[in-house]
Amino acid sequence: MTVSTLPAYPARSARLKRISAEYPHALGLLLLAPMLSWIAVFFIFPTAWMIWQSFSERGLQPYATILTSAIYLKVLLTTLKICVITTVGCLILGYPVAYVLTTARPSTRAVLLILVVLPYWLDFIVRSYSWMILLGRHGLINQLVTGLGISSTSLPLLYNLFSVSIGMIQILLPLTILTLFSTMVRIDRRLVDAATIHGASPWRAFRTVFLPLSLPGVYAACLLLFVSALGFYVTPALLGGPEQTMISQTIMVIASDLLDWPLASAAGVLLLVVTTSLLVLYSRFFRLDRMLGGMAR
């Protein structure tokens, strides 16, 4: 699909011209080859091996175990729930920031961008531990709350859905802002001006012109966030309670504590199936190809 949409570059020599006439996709394939081989070796092969591993030893039995035991379905649902919360939270917090970034002067924008990207360079574990310090029983927030007399006992801020969500949102926020920003910065501002000149209030101009034009960025961000959130391990392990167990934690327990690779592989395959089906559905609704193709068309 991507190959056919690549523009045909003018060939320098007659020979190249002939080759490109005979094989119109040759250049595209050549450019894609390094990445395709990378994906084949480090993604397709291990995934195939994982799928094979899930069936080879005990047939369908690992799948039966997973589908019949309540715990895996519960973990899967918890995972999806946390992913949705994280995605929505990131969008609510990230959209205004990305908007401000597009309107800011270049010098201010540079400073803001650095502030956005800076936390992204910090390690996941470090950031998760910092949340423990902030949200703990004697943490900064609780000291403030009890010190100001807002509450006499410390609030339960840690080891629940709240702390997991806040930790994951913070980690994924830079990704959200950058994705949204890259779409918003390409929106022609004169369209918004045209709307206001014709009497639309700033809010109405935003709602009817800017917002719809920024939606492809929102859809792309949703996809990126959701898929990234699915694989989280450290943050829910450190900031969550048992009720916030995510699927990667469960797979980890099965693989490295119980040493049951067929079962772990089956859990991985099921996660892959669920994710892929969700993506297919999502692309049906939101035209995945278009939003990833950007604004060119």
């Binding site: 080891y159 119980l258 040493l259």
Partner: protein
């Protein structure tokens, strides 16, 4: 020749251990590092004088272990002194992952020579037959304690206890929690608590809280239903269930919970070196005994080097140095000759501590661990 060098390394250790009796952990590690570096300089200059540059080119021995403070202590107590004397480098890979060892063995591509297997991985190692037979013409049995040779083809390593600590600020007097029954008694000792997210140890603690004595004869086979019924009682009062060893340290240092299950070495480290206001309860500690052992892996790349390293790691002096650094007790009882009373009392194998502990029956767990882990995970999430 190797034997002479080992003797020389042990002599250095003895001197350092004697000189540093009163130092804290950091001071001790620093002094040990200096001594090792000094003797390295000495031995390498000897090498140059003798014209023997061949030692540096020796094939390394590869080992796999936990990172962080554990790696630091392993390297200072075992690997660096041994390398400095034998010239054989030790390559340390972290993090510890028993799965990796098994996968490499199955693929007939074992790349690790020596490991110190943690808790249940020792019986698993033997069950899967991943280890190689030991050559006791290289390893000097007379330097070891009988308990270290219980498996035949492994060398006893360290002792660890999973135990309870309480917040001394909250209970400064004599009326403080003293048993798992007290840990379960939320009326008499109110406050947030934390347990390990693992069936092994947590289920034994629950049964002791329910009145089963700290005696393996009476504890095993575990009464699973009774344990889960007792765990139901405490579940609402557990603020968080930890999975990695650094978490309870964080809880102690931030006073996140008032009662916490923790590994003894981590507890001592937080209390002694990081000013956590907690006190250890040795009564009813869950004791690993001499379960943990060093193994040489079958089909490993450097069996000769690994064998020589195994001759070193079980000895009293490096075990004493490791205990000093990380508070995990020696299995070589001669190590207590190099450990002062104050430190000895903080170690799981110290007789007074071992006496009141429950010795975990890993043979029972080997057959039940998988099934109960799933049951426990199911219980904890529902």
């Amino acid at each position: 020749m190797a034997d002479k060098e080992t003797q020389f390394a042990l002599e250095t250790f003895r001197q350092v251990l004697a000189q540093t009796r009163r130092l804290d952990r950091r001071g001790f590690l620093r002094r040990l590092g200096q001594a090792a570096a000094g003797s390295a300089l000495l031995s390498s200059s000897f090498e140059i004088l003798a014209g023997g540059a061949g030692l540096a080119a020796e094939k390394p021995v590869t080992t796999l272990g936990w990172g962080g403070a554990w790696q630091e202590a392993m390297e200072t107590a075992f690997f660096r002194p041994w390398t400095q004397k034998t010239g054989v480098p030790v390559q340390y890979i972290a993090p510890y992952d028993f799965n990796k060892i098994r996968a490499m063995d199955q693929a007939k591509q074992q790349q690790v020579d020596v490991i110190e297997a943690g808790s249940i991985d020792t019986p698993r190692m033997i069950k899967f037959g991943l280890n190689a037979p030991l050559d006791f013409s290289v390893i000097d049995k007379s330097a070891l304690s009988p308990g270290q040779l219980r498996y035949g083809n492994a060398i006893g390593a360290i002792t660890l206890s999973t135990l309870m600590v309480y917040n001394k600020k909250k209970w400064p007097g004599d009326d403080h929690p003293k048993s798992w029954a007290d840990f379960w008694d939320v009326k008499r000792f109110p406050g947030p608590r934390s347990l390990q997210r693992r069936c092994l140890t947590t289920m034994e603690a629950a049964l002791m809280a329910d009145g089963v004595p700290a005696d393996p004869e009476k504890m095993y086979p575990l009464d699973v239903d009774r344990a889960f019924k007792k765990l139901d009682e405490i579940k609402p009062h557990i603020k968080t269930w930890w999975s990695s060893g650094t978490e309870p340290q964080q809880f102690m240092q931030d006073e996140e919970v008032d009662l916490c299950m923790v590994w003894n070495g981590r507890a001592s480290d937080s209390i002694n070196n990081r000013h956590a206001p907690y006190e250890i309860v040795w009564n009813q500690a869950l004791y690993n005994g001499d379960i943990e052992a060093w193994f040489l892996l079958r089909n490993c790349p450097n069996p000769q080097g690994g064998m020589k390293l195994l001759d070193f790691v079980g000895r009293a002096e490096p075990q004493a140095a490791f205990a000093r650094a990380l508070y995990y007790g020696p299995t070589n009882l001669k190590a207590y000759d190099y450990i002062d009373e104050k430190l000895a009392k903080q170690l799981p194998s110290y007789p007074d501590n071992a006496k009141v502990s429950l010795l975990i029956d890993y043979n029972w767990w080997l057959d039940h661990y998988d099934e109960l882990t799933l049951k426990f995970e199911n219980w904890i999430q529902s």
